[in-house]
């Protein structure tokens, strides 16, 4: 903790004065809150948070430090980090560095010491908005700072997946002792490390490929299934990937999507997407699997959602047959999963790979495997 001031300015003119943390300077982005009580390292390194300033609602952050095992990608992606009370002394048998050190080293302008609950209530009421953290030399009068915030690019309409994706492909093999049973090409739109890991544990060889790959490139690898990952940005701005998905659907190769992947599958099938007022970001969200009627506690990180009818299966507007909303969030009835009844494709809006979060939905990777093996019928298991 320092006594160096930092200022958070929201697009609506609200100003919060706290203490600088991590790097000094200026950062702008969409400001969102995350309600997870654990998992700040996973959150920071989740590419879906690219161009977002994340506010943690849990007051104590950094208690367990940072380690080399829990990161979900190669770097921290959030554009800014806000917490109430950073740890002065991390304490955990796996801790290797402090949170503050990592944030500073990676240039993440952060701050602490503000009423994060007030900020959360504001975002809940007025919706996610643009904001900026300013410290050190970037400090100026509030009006100037507000002008800089208002000049920042909004999240709606932003195409960001290419910015977080990789340059070249790589392969993750099943661990020793696990028989290889399938091959999946995973399109990295901002993929988290745990996702291919969980597939590999089930005997799936995963080839992770850049977001720029075409359907031909993907299919040339002769995959048993294609996976579309989570990622940042507005699904409405991702036309190229939507076309790739349509080509995979046309090829009838089993397809599974998570989060951004779910929104893009929705678009490929002909449904719209829309921006939620403040999104779902946390690890306690109740989702009902409408196939089994069971509730799972799930990890969420999405600001956009698919606009598909919740009732009986509907006809895909793009002619891909019947589509069923397979999962729904019980808090607000937001569509959390799609399942094609006439094609081998399904997706969920939330994060079965968890990290951070509960493991309740890991069965979806088994469903994907079943789909590839033809063990799962298109009509589902109802």
């Amino acid at each position: 903790m320092t006594n160096e001031p930092a200022v958070l300015v929201l697009e609506n003119g609200d100003v919060y004065r706290g203490e600088a943390y991590g790097a000094r300077g200026e950062t702008l982005g969409e400001i969102v809150f995350n309600t997870g009580m654990t998992g700040y390292q996973e959150t920071l390194t989740d590419p879906s948070y690219y161009r977002q300033i994340v506010v943690m609602t849990a007051p104590h952050i950094g208690n367990t430090g940072m380690n080399d095992e829990d990161a979900e990608s190669r770097r921290i992606w959030v554009s800014g980090f806000v917490m109430r009370e950073p740890a002065r002394r991390p304490s955990n048998w796996r801790s290797q560095r402090s949170l503050g050190d990592d944030l500073a080293e990676q240039g993440i302008v952060s701050m602490s010491g503000i009423d994060t609950r007030k900020l959360t209530r504001t975002l809940r009421t007025f919706g996610s908005m643009r904001g900026g953290i300013f410290s050190g030399d970037a400090l100026a009068n509030d009006a100037d700072l507000l002008a800089r915030v208002r000049a920042a690019a909004p999240m709606a309409g932003a195409h960001l997946a290419d910015a977080v994706s990789i340059d070249g492909d790589y392969v993750i093999e099943p661990p020793d002792g696990v028989e290889r049973v399938a091959h999946v090409v995973a399109v990295d739109l901002g993929i988290k490390a745990t996702t291919p890991e969980l597939m590999a544990q089930r005997g799936i060889k995963v080839t992770v490929v850049p977001s720029s790959w075409t359907a031909d490139q993907i299919l040339a690898r002769e995959p048993d299934g294609v996976f579309f990952s989570n990622g940042p940005g507005d699904p409405a701005a991702a036309d190229r990937t939507v076309e790739v998905i349509r080509a995979i659907l046309d090829a009838r190769v089993p397809l599974f999507g998570i989060c951004f992947g779910n929104q893009l599958l929705g678009r490929a099938l002909g449904y719209g997407t829309y921006k939620l007022r403040f999104g779902h970001r946390g690890i306690n969200q109740p989702v009902m699997d409408r196939t089994t009627g069971k509730v799972e506690i799930t990890s969420h990180n999405h600001g956009f959602a698919v606009d598909a009818p919740l009732g009986d299966a509907s006809e895909s507007p793009h002619g891909y047959g019947r589509v069923h909303v397979s999962h729904v969030c019980l808090n607000d009835d937001v569509v959390e999963g799609l399942e094609c009844l006439d094609l081998p494709a399904f997706s969920v809006q939330y994060h079965p790979e968890a990290a951070a979060g509960p493991h309740d939905a890991a069965y979806l990777f088994d469903r994907f495997l079943d789909l590839m093996n033809g063990r799962r019928t298109l009509e589902g298991t109802r």
Binding site: R84, R117, R121, R124, I283, N284, K294, L330, N331
Partner: protein
């Protein structure tokens, strides 16, 4: 899917008397369950022997049985009420054990009653340690290596294999009774031997020591669709080795990464599934090795527990309420989250605050007890606090404990050198003082930068927590060293949990000076909301806690508010009985006013957000109460504050609050003082012409001696302003008085600073307790209770009977006149409790307390009159005449001799068995003027003998129906005992007696055998004394009426042995007569049971106003 339609009547079992390890959290859970089941349109049949509970208020069930929780009684009730289902997972270990017993006796099968919540198989899997180990293994998780033992030889052999130290855990005991850590074979023989005796299945688990590991708990819920949620994670600040009930605990867990936390969650879910808790809650305890992260499952409770009450209050997720719904067939997603109203219960609460629970101990009442904290729970209560960070919550929780010496301080110099080494050595042994010792040791950080590591090595407390305490020490230095207190420093100190009082000490100025500096600087707390979801959704339940943060969430209101101060953490002398009155006030005033509860005890019904319109979970200190008052004043009009219902804690704030401008409702602070101040009270007595034992008030022991010699020994000595007879003793000589003075000076307790009250002690008096309401003009005498034990035993520890069974109508009239004169003289508006002593036909006034008393709920249950509700109304201005007209009070009160009244006996439940001396012996169980009981039961029947028999069955194992009785009486009683002892002989008992008693019995033709007194010691050929015989289990009942000092002492030895061995003990001739009649009645057949509702109907039909 809606609820099951095959269940119409549900029987619920409560947890019985308050004991250590099982307190009013089960009233909270049981009350919630009853409310829910009734709201679902089910017929609710309730059994609980504890009259002080809210759940046994007649409106919470359709048939309420305040009867002993025994297999026999349960069968009688089942026979009568024919329930479809039995719900036993909400009444603690008592209810669970009772349910197992009736199930195993095939009673459930015979009457076709389904055990809901958890099946017998699930209960067994969860509770039986050997089976549970298998469960853990099947879940792919680890248990501590262990062996199950049934004999001492097996224990010794197992310990050789596991290597010392080893943990001893008896099966099927509650609150960890009988468990402990054995460092060598001697320890093992002592602890293990006791454990084998405590375990109903003579079974003890011996396991590898995981001492010093990090300890965590998860609270889980599961529904019939196999949906599972983790409601709360709790981290123990004290590492493994201290019972979780005695540990400082924190929610949520703060020192685990997500991966580590999810591993606990996965194991927890696997365990609840494998055990098969079908519908409801359970808690699972884990140990995590701090250097490797290896996880061990310690144990699980397949039921709602103390931790689940804590978790409910900590998160706003009402576990018991939801467990009750799940038990009747709902699923989690069908149950709405009360707090948000818009989201379902099938989620996991997320906290944007930190919760800290601190235990409250009562070692000062058991000076001989070993104060080391172990895996056997010893605390009697707890306080919880919420803050926006750990330090804020910790500071608030510690001051909520309301006990001197239990908050951080910075007096003297930081420890160095040998003093530091010694302090670290003390920290290594967990006691009540450890947290303070740790904080003091951390003050050494200014000279020794490695002290955090040294404290960690000594205690195993996670360095993150130590660093937070270090932070508080750093701030203390800033506060001390600052030239002035500016806004940033004030805010920094307040937001890290410093009270005004602590800061005042640091600055050597008045608390009020800090408070005004703070207010001037605009540093005032805001109130946040417990909303289960970290503000993701809007909350509709005003459940608040204070924080030095920015945004205030208290909503404006239009109705006038009544603020009710609760009683804080449970302690001996101030517990559930006071919470009862607070809850009643809230419930009855809700119609007219916005009721606002302030309390810090997570176990209670008062801190259920359903009880009042607004709940503030805050410490009951002047500063914290004023902050709530100011916030509510800003929110809308305030009628005033009720301080007379929560016991001594709120009462002692009355004057300061009033001086600060808070309108105090009911009896004024001046009137309260009139009753407390001996001089002023003397004037009241004199004016009313009422006799009182001679007395005096002393400042210091010299003055006390002077007074004692003037009025003559024996005298009763005590500090003023105490509850539960704290520090009260009967003193027979100058030497004893000097000794008392020395001991009191050494006790670090705020009450010992108060002036001493000296009263003439009346030997041989009948003590009488009275609860009354006075409206300024008229009095309603709620109940007159006659003590069964002789005077000199604290009223909270002695049995009493209502209505009085030996007092005449004329006596009642005198009591009425005296009580009314006192009420008028003091200026009571509301409740008053008076203690009288009837000696040589003179009715002496011992004391009068113008507040709710411990007996209010008992009186209310026994008479069917809602005394606490009526009192609350009177405090708000209603008259007794109005309340009679409304029907809230009956026309006739307890001053009228009622021939139809059913007899209620209240018996105290004492915790002596739980406290052991360092050598492992039971502490001396002498009863005296200082209260030591933790709870009470009520026996209710048509006659005194039957009511008495029930009270004994509820409190201890009950009266024997055959066997050996030991009789030893004072000379003056010898005439009176011949008839009852002769009857015992006829009823088939063998009689043992002391020599003097034997002679008297012999001349009356009653055969008896002589046994040696304790004071005689063993005979030449090793003939045992009576104490030896009791210890060895040869005696089934003890009759010992003491007289004078010497006999009293000898009797106490016998009593101690009887208590430790759970042998029935009779100390008065009245009690003996009652016991004999009770035994006779019991030999004829079983108890008849009657619900409170039937009693009320019966009485209404019989009673004709005269």
């Amino acid at each position: 899917m809606p609820r099951r339609d095959d269940i119409h009547t549900v029987m619920v079992i409560g947890s019985g008397p308050i004991v250590i390890g099982q307190a009013c959290e089960f009233d909270y859970s049981g009350t919630q369950a009853c409310r829910v089941l009734k709201a679902e349109g089910l017929r609710v049949v309730l059994l609980n022997s504890n009259p002080a509970t809210i759940m046994t208020d007649p409106e919470f069930a359709d048939a309420t049985y305040v009867e002993p929780i025994t297999t026999d009684v349960i069968e009688r009730i089942i026979e009568k009420e024919r329930p479809d289902a039995l719900l036993a997972t909400l009444g603690g270990q008592t209810a669970l054990n009772a349910a197992i017993a009736v199930a195993e006796a095939d009673i459930l099968e015979r009457y076709n009653v389904e055990l809901i919540g958890a099946s017998l198989e699930a209960i067994n899997l969860g509770e039986n340690r050997e089976l549970f180990k298998g469960v853990v293994e099947r879940c792919g998780a680890d248990s501590a290596r262990s062996h199950i033992c049934h004999t001492m030889d097996e224990l010794v052999a197992a310990a050789e294999d596991l290597k010392y130290p080893v943990v001893v855990r008896p099966s099927f005991t509650m609150g960890g009774l009988g468990s402990g850590l054995a460092y060598d074979e001697e320890d093992l023989r002592r602890i293990g031997g006791a454990g084998l005796r405590y375990s109903p299945s003579t079974e003890v688990l011996l396991e590898e020591s995981i001492l010093g590991w990090k300890e965590y708990e998860l609270e889980l819920m599961r529904d019939k669709h196999d949906n599972v949620v983790v409601v709360c994670s709790i981290e123990n600040l004290d590492p493994v080795g201290v019972h979780t009930g005695d540990s400082v605990t924190v929610a949520p867990a703060l020192t685990l990464t997500d991966r580590e936390y999810q591993k606990l969650r996965d194991v927890g879910i696997a365990v609840i599934r494998e055990v098969g808790v079908d519908t409801g809650g359970c808690n699972i305890q884990f140990a995590v090795e701090p250097t490797t992260g290896r996880v061990i499952v310690i144990e699980m409770n397949p039921r709602v527990s103390r931790s689940s009450a804590l978790a409910s209050k900590a998160t706003g997720f009402p576990i018991a309420k939801i467990a009750a719904r799940l038990a009747i067939g709902y699923t989690l997603d069908e149950i709405p989250n009360d707090i948000t109203g818009s989201t379902p219960a099938s989620f996991e609460p997320t906290l944007d605050y930190v919760v800290v629970k601190v235990p409250r101990f009562a070692f000062e009442k058991f000076p001989a007890a070993d104060p080391v904290l172990t895996t056997t729970m010893k605390s009697v209560g707890e306080a919880m606090a919420l803050g926006r960070n750990f330090t804020e919550a910790l500071g608030k929780a510690m001051r909520s404990i309301d006990k001197k010496g239990q908050v951080f301080h910075w007096e003297g110099e930081p420890p160095t050198g040998e003093a530091l080494d010694a302090l670290l050595a003390q920290c290594a042994i967990p006691t009540e003082q450890r947290l303070i010792q740790v904080q003091q040791a951390l003050r050494a950080a200014i000279n020794d930068p490695d002290v955090v590591d040294r404290v960690f090595d000594a205690t195993g407390i996670d360095p993150w927590f130590l660093d937070q305490i270090l932070l508080m020490n750093e701030i203390a230095l800033e506060v001390t060293g600052a030239p002035g207190l500016d806004e940033p420093l004030l805010r920094r100190a307040k937001s890290h949990g410093f009270s005004d009082a602590q800061m005042a000490k640091l600055r050597h100025i008045d608390e009020s000076a800090i408070a005004s500096a703070r207010v001037d600087a605009g540093v005032i707390p805001v109130f946040k909301t417990v909303d289960t979801c970290a503000a993701e959704f809007e909350a509709h339940t005003p459940y608040h806690y204070s924080s030095y943060d920015e945004e205030n969430e208290v909503q404006p209101r239009e109705r006038e508010a009544v603020l009710i101060l609760g009683s804080g953490p449970n302690r001996i002398g101030q517990g559930i009985e006071f919470d009862y009155s607070c809850v009643h006030a809230a419930l009855t005033l809700k119609d007219q006013y916005e009721t606002v509860m302030i309390n810090c005890n997570p176990e209670t019904v008062s801190t259920d957000y359903d009880t009042s319109d607004r709940l503030y979970f805050e410490p009951l200190t002047f500063e914290d109460v004023m902050a709530v008052y100011e916030a509510e004043k800003a929110a809308g009009p305030i009628k005033g504050m009720l301080v007379q219902l929560g016991g001594q804690t709120p009462l002692s704030l009355a004057q300061r609050l009033s001086d600060a401008g808070v309108p105090i409702l009911g009896t004024t602070p001046e009137a309260i003082n009139k009753a407390e101040d001996r001089r002023e009270f003397g004037v009241v007595l004199e004016t009313a012409g009422l006799p009182a034992p001679q007395y005096g008030t002393a400042h210091g022991i010299d003055e006390a001696t002077e007074i004692a010699e003037r009025i003559g020994y024996p005298v009763l000595v005590r500090p003023s302003y105490v509850l539960g007879g704290r520090g009260m003793e009967i003193v027979y000589s100058r030497e004893q008085l000097a000794d008392y003075g020395t001991r009191m000076a050494g006790v670090g307790d705020h009450v010992t600073d108060a002036p001493l009250l000296i009263d003439k002690f009346l030997d041989d008096a009948i003590e009488i307790d009275v609860d009354a309401i006075f409206d300024g003009d008229q009095m309603f005498l709620g109940g007159v209770m006659e003590h069964i034990e002789e005077a000199g035993i604290h009223s909270g520890d002695s049995a009493c009977v209502l209505p009085p069974v030996t007092l005449s109508a004329a006596d009642l009239d005198r009591i009425r006149v005296s009580t009314e004169a006192l009420a008028r003289g003091i200026g009571v508006r509301g409740l008053m409790n008076v203690q009288f002593a009837l000696a040589s036909d003179v009715l002496y006034v011992l004391e009068a307390n113008p507040r709710a008393s411990r007996t209010v709920p008992f009186v209310a249950k026994a008479t069917g009159v809602a005394l606490a509700k009526a009192a609350a109304r009177v405090m708000l201005g209603a008259t007794i005449a109005e309340l009679k007209a409304e029907g809230m009070l009956p026309e006739l009160d307890a001053s009228v001799y009622d021939d139809h009244a059913r007899i209620a006996v209240k018996e105290a439940v004492l915790p002596f068995k739980r406290f052991r001396t360092h050598g492992g012996l039971a502490v001396d169980s002498i009863l005296g003027p200082e209260m030591r009981s933790t709870g009470e039961v009520m026996g209710f029947d048509e006659t005194f003998p039957l009511a008495f028999a029930k009270s004994q069955a509820g409190a201890i194992g009950g009266l024997p129906l055959s066997g050996t009785v030991f009789v030893s009486t004072a000379d003056r009683d010898k005439r009176a005992i011949t008839f009852p002892v002769a009857r015992l002989h006829q009823l088939g008992f063998s009689i043992l007696a002391t020599e003097g008693t034997r002679r008297v019995l012999s001349r009356h033709g009653i055969p008896s055998e002589v046994v040696r007194k304790k004071s005689q010691g063993k005979g030449p050929d090793g003939e045992p004394t009576i104490v030896d015989l009791i210890n060895d289990g040869y005696i089934d009942m003890v009759v010992n009426t003491p007289s004078g000092q010497g006999a009293r002492a000898d009797g106490y030895e016998i009593r101690a042995a009887a208590t430790a061995a759970d042998v029935a003990i009779i100390t008065t001739t009245q009690q003996l007569a009652a016991a004999v009649q009770a035994i006779e009645a019991l030999q004829r057949g079983r108890f008849e049971v009657m619900s409170l509702q039937d009693v009320a109907r019966d009485i209404a039909s019989m009673r004709t106003p005269r």
